[in-house]
């Protein structure tokens, strides 16, 4: 009895201590605003700004912090989360609406702890659980880079989160549970300089796991399954821990090409939310991208001793394949058929090797048929027109059945028409 009571008291005390800790975290002091934006930077800042630019590209800060047709870094992009929509904020050096009067200390706290200058807690859609791993020097460089962008007057757009998540102090509990502050621990075994650099970029500024790791019910990366694949903006972010198990196993060279140019000749072109990532990684020195690939390749299981046995393709519905073949001939063949001129230029991968078509889930293939792949500057190799207004859901199922069986040599996905209808509804409406 006594022991029970002792346990109960101890338990209550620890709950209380945790609550006090969480409340203490929720009450973060403001860090005084600078009286005016820091004065024009001297020339000796140039190398610091250049270093910051490189980190901003690795982290693709611009994508989330720029609204469609908006000014760079001025924020306002709606970001859909399972908990509602939040809007990115203005990180230009505008003194009123941006971060022009943020000191380096305030900027550092935001990146490391997810706390805004005035003390309010940020939401982890801003990937501070990764940025917390960045070095002091890199944070200072990123700060110098952002403070030399063009200031834009753009007030924050109010968020549209569901109760109770619209109550920011709750994030203290989230941070208590999920935020592991501080730099990466040194690796257990000696590693190459490239691996170390790659791990730092992937786990820190580039925050790859934010999309490529499944989320738990509270929107944090599931512990224990890093890089096991996630979902972002209606697209599957493929697992990054099974690259050597692809029908054509990924190699370091293919991964570097994919990350740096957006095209891997044996796997496909970047599309959906990954396209802007590759557009920004393109501005990194190849050594950084090579380092990222070095680290990512080290996460892979050993390649299967024998190539996976050819999957026995069960007989598909002949009528569906006939219908799909007719649609494919009219809509897809000019670019994707074996021997089509468009197949041979620009290092395009054969359709049968495309990650979207060989994946276990039809989700990304459906997204590609619906929306195509938008123009990527003058690099036409990515482009695919949208078919959302050409095909109905059953026609999408037919054409994908044909492409799966005939090109990927895999069984047709089940239930594609119903899933296409669902994905149409999920996607933001024009």
């Amino acid at each position: 009895m006594k022991r029970m009571r002792k346990f109960a008291v101890g338990f209550a005390a620890s709950i209380l201590a945790a609550a006090v800790g969480v409340i203490a975290y929720a009450w973060q002091p403001a860090i005084a605003a600078l009286p005016a934006p820091a004065a024009a930077r001297a020339d000796d800042q140039a190398s610091l700004v250049a270093r910051g630019a490189r980190l901003a590209e690795a982290g693709d800060c611009m994508y989330c912090h720029t609204a469609q047709h908006g000014e760079p870094f001025a924020g306002g992009l709606p970001i859909g989360t399972p908990f509602g929509t939040i809007y990115s904020t203005n990180i230009t050096p505008d003194p009123q609406t941006g971060i022009g009067r943020w000191s380096l200390a305030a900027f550092t706290r935001a990146l490391r702890e997810g706390v805004s200058r005035d003390g309010h807690l940020l939401y982890p859609a801003f990937p501070y659980p990764h940025f917390t791993k960045m070095s002091d020097e890199d944070i200072a460089a990123l700060y110098a880079y952002l403070q030399t962008r063009t200031p834009v007057d753009a007030p924050a757009h109010p968020d549209a989160l569901r109760f109770p998540l619209n109550f920011r102090p709750l994030m203290a509990g989230w941070n208590w549970l999920f935020l592991k502050k501080g730099p990466l621990a040194p690796p257990a075994d000696a590693q190459s300089a490239a691996w170390l650099r790659g791990r730092y970029l992937v786990e820190g500024p580039a925050h790859c796991a934010s999309c490529h790791t499944p989320m738990n019910a509270l929107g944090a990366e599931k512990s224990g399954s890093p890089f096991a694949g996630g979902r972002i903006d209606g697209w599957n972010a493929p697992p990054l821990n099974a690259l050597t198990r692809a029908p054509k196993p990924w190699t370091q060279a293919q991964l570097v090409a994919y990350l740096h140019t957006g095209i891997a000749s044996e796997h496909g072109a970047a599309a959906g939310p990954m396209l802007p990532v590759t557009q920004h990684l393109a501005n990194l020195p190849e050594s950084d991208v090579d380092a990222m690939a070095t680290y990512l390749m080290s996460l892979q299981p050993a390649a299967a001793a024998q190539p996976p046995a050819a999957v026995a393709v069960p007989p598909a519905d002949a009528a569906q394949l006939r219908a799909g073949a007719a649609l494919f001939t009219a809509s897809c063949a000019a670019c994707h058929a074996d021997g089509a001129p468009m197949r041979d230029i620009g290092g395009r991968p054969p359709l049968g090797l495309g990650s979207a078509l060989t994946a276990d889930s039809p989700r990304n293939a459906i997204q590609l048929v619906l929306h195509g792949n938008p123009w990527n500057g003058s690099a036409s190799a990515h482009y695919m027109p949208p078919f959302a207004d050409v095909f109905d859901d059953q026609q999408i199922a037919d054409v994908l059945a044909y492409a799966r069986v005939h090109y990927a040599q895999r069984p047709a996905w089940p239930d594609v028409a119903r899933r296409a209808a669902a994905i149409r509804k999920e996607n933001p409406q024009p």
Partner: protein
């Protein structure tokens, strides 16, 4: 047989189901407004409406759009009575070689039908898939902006008329 409903008229065509809609329109219905540009859905010269939405008819299977209303530039106006958008293109002399113009007009018409109060920035964004190799984009945009203005004015006049 494949039945296509084009500009309000049904046509039963004995064509292969894999024939692109563009070929059916041009070769079988003699509707030569839509043009073959790239054949890959990259240039927009072949743009027509299916169910009110602009599509690239060169990569649209005829068999996929059976029974859906198809509208081509021939369905907008006639030489004697051009539509407001066609009128504006004539006013601005927006065509140089003219190859892209039917596609440009059909794409702009789709926006005019659905969002007639679009701003010039929205018009430019919407027209982005359509290319013009002569470079008459400024006149094309000018014509479209004028047509949107004319339609908006017409709408205002009608509304006021109804109140009077």
């Amino acid at each position: 047989m494949i039945t296509l409903s084009v500009n309000g008229v049904d046509h039963a065509l004995d064509i292969d189901p894999s024939m692109p809609l563009l070929y059916a329109l041009r070769n079988h219905l003699n509707l030569n407004g839509a043009k073959y540009g790239c054949g890959l859905g990259q240039c927009g010269a072949c743009t027509v409406h299916v169910d009110g939405k602009p599509v690239f008819s060169c990569v649209t299977p005829a068999s996929a759009v059976q029974g859906k209303p198809i509208r081509t530039i021939e369905g907008l106006g006639t030489p004697d009575r051009p539509s407001p958008l066609q009128h504006a293109f004539i006013d601005h002399q927006a065509a140089q070689c003219g190859y892209c113009i039917a596609g440009m007009i059909m794409r702009a018409q789709a926006l005019l039908d659905t969002r007639p109060t679009s701003t010039e920035a929205e018009i430019r964004d919407y027209l982005q898939p359509n290319l013009c190799r002569c470079g008459t984009h400024m006149r094309i945009i000018g014509a479209i902006v004028q047509a949107f203005g004319a339609v908006a004015k017409q709408h205002t006049d009608d509304t006021h008329g109804a109140h009077a």
